[in-house]
Symmetry: C2
Subunit: 248 residues, 2 copies
């Protein structure tokens, strides 16, 4: 910090010879990653949490996180945390953003980088239940149940997810390969947390021309069996501009 002030006084500073000395003079912080793993099951959006292991947050819930190691990239750290905590390996994580409020950790300065994923719960088995790891309905989580600023991190990642699912067809990974329009609408309603007009929703999806009629119908349902559709990812890749953004 002192160095900066000096630089301001001398606008054309001589070059810094010793890079190692320079970095050694920098303030440092502990850096963590936190994974917000959203899952979809029984028409509900859920999030994966563990019990906090800090006395000060006794009984409260926490995201899956850990300190970044000296030799680790942040992405590596995030995948390591997910594997260590859940046993899951085939999950794609997106880096969302950092959370760096100086008071966010009761033990001192800790900056965290949030990662996010969305998966079909039935496709991913939790290989451990340490620290009561399990899926919580997103709607059931309140500020007071969550350790640190983890409720705020979840909220931010949820907004990010809502935007993503409107702009990209990532929702189809959460459905069976063949799905009814009712199932598709349920998915969007659960994630966007809105009620959608049935006709409008269908019209919009058909106008994009990525849904293919399989000729099959739902079985073992209480309501009138609906037609089953597939999403044509190949067609989508060739013609992404037709994805018109599911902006309801």
């Amino acid at each position: 910090m002192k160095k900066d002030e000096d630089n301001l006084t001398f606008p054309q500073p001589s070059l810094i010879q010793d890079a190692t000395e320079l970095v050694a003079s920098y303030p440092t912080v502990a850096l963590t990653v936190d994974c917000v793993i959203f899952g979809f099951e029984d028409n509900k959006l859920k999030v994966l949490l563990i019990r906090s292991d800090l006395e000060v947050y006794k009984g409260m819930w926490s995201l899956l996180g850990d300190v970044v190691r000296d030799t680790e990239e942040l992405d590596e750290a995030a995948y390591r945390v997910l594997t260590e905590r859940t046993g899951m390996t085939n999950v794609y994580l997106d880096q969302v953003r950092s959370f760096s409020s100086p008071g966010r950790h009761p033990g001192g300065r800790v900056v965290t980088i949030a990662y996010c994923s969305l998966l079909n719960i039935q496709h991913h088995e939790l290989k451990t239940t340490d620290n009561e790891l399990h899926w919580h309905s997103l709607k059931s989580i309140s500020e007071k149940d969550m350790a640190f600023d983890h409720k705020a991190i979840i909220d931010k990642c949820y907004k990010w997810l809502q935007k993503r699912i409107q702009e990209h067809p990532l929702g189809f990974n959460l459905l069976p390969e063949k799905f009814s329009l009712r199932e598709l609408q349920n998915l969007y309603e659960a994630i966007l947390n809105v009620e959608l007009d049935r006709r409008n929703f269908r019209k919009k999806f058909f106008s994009m021309d990525f849904l293919e009629d399989t000729g099959e119908f739902e079985e073992d349902v209480k309501h009138r069996p609906g037609k089953l559709y597939q999403f044509n990812f190949e067609k989508y890749e060739k013609n992404k501009r037709k994805w018109i953004g599911i902006d309801f």
Copy 2:
């Protein structure tokens, strides 16, 4: 049931009593922010750089960056850097992502968070030229001219920008209030680094129905004066779904 019996029934791993001791045991890293400021001028996309002040990068260029202070949030640090280095204050910065490769700084472990902005160069005066601060044409910058991993950071932010400008009407902030379709197409061609079909481009923009004919024409141009248009931001806000993504 009494509390003790609860504990007997559901044994919990022992909780960490001292959060401060815990954080003190964490490895720490130096954390910096780097600002990738893109500007548009003379139909060219440019980026704001300074001379590196490290001997090891003598003569090379560097992004606008600094160490994050102990009491600072990352966003704060990014805005501080921008103001200190350029004198600009009315610039919006987006956090893009972190760069954390262990070898990215010759002086030791430094993790950096990249911020990005896009502005109209003529609207923003540089209040300082310390360290040879000036705008570089993006096309003129090569890997070997850049310190650290700053070329890779610029590349990543450029991709991010290209995506943003296709998904949102942020390009209009770079044009005069009233602009010709030629100017609009030049802007998209410069940022997307492609040549666009004139008819297709116009058809796409008119189909979105956000452009308004001002009834005026270009003046003092060598070619046949084109009609001048305005972008209706109000209409856009009410009807974002009609922004169909400029995906060429």
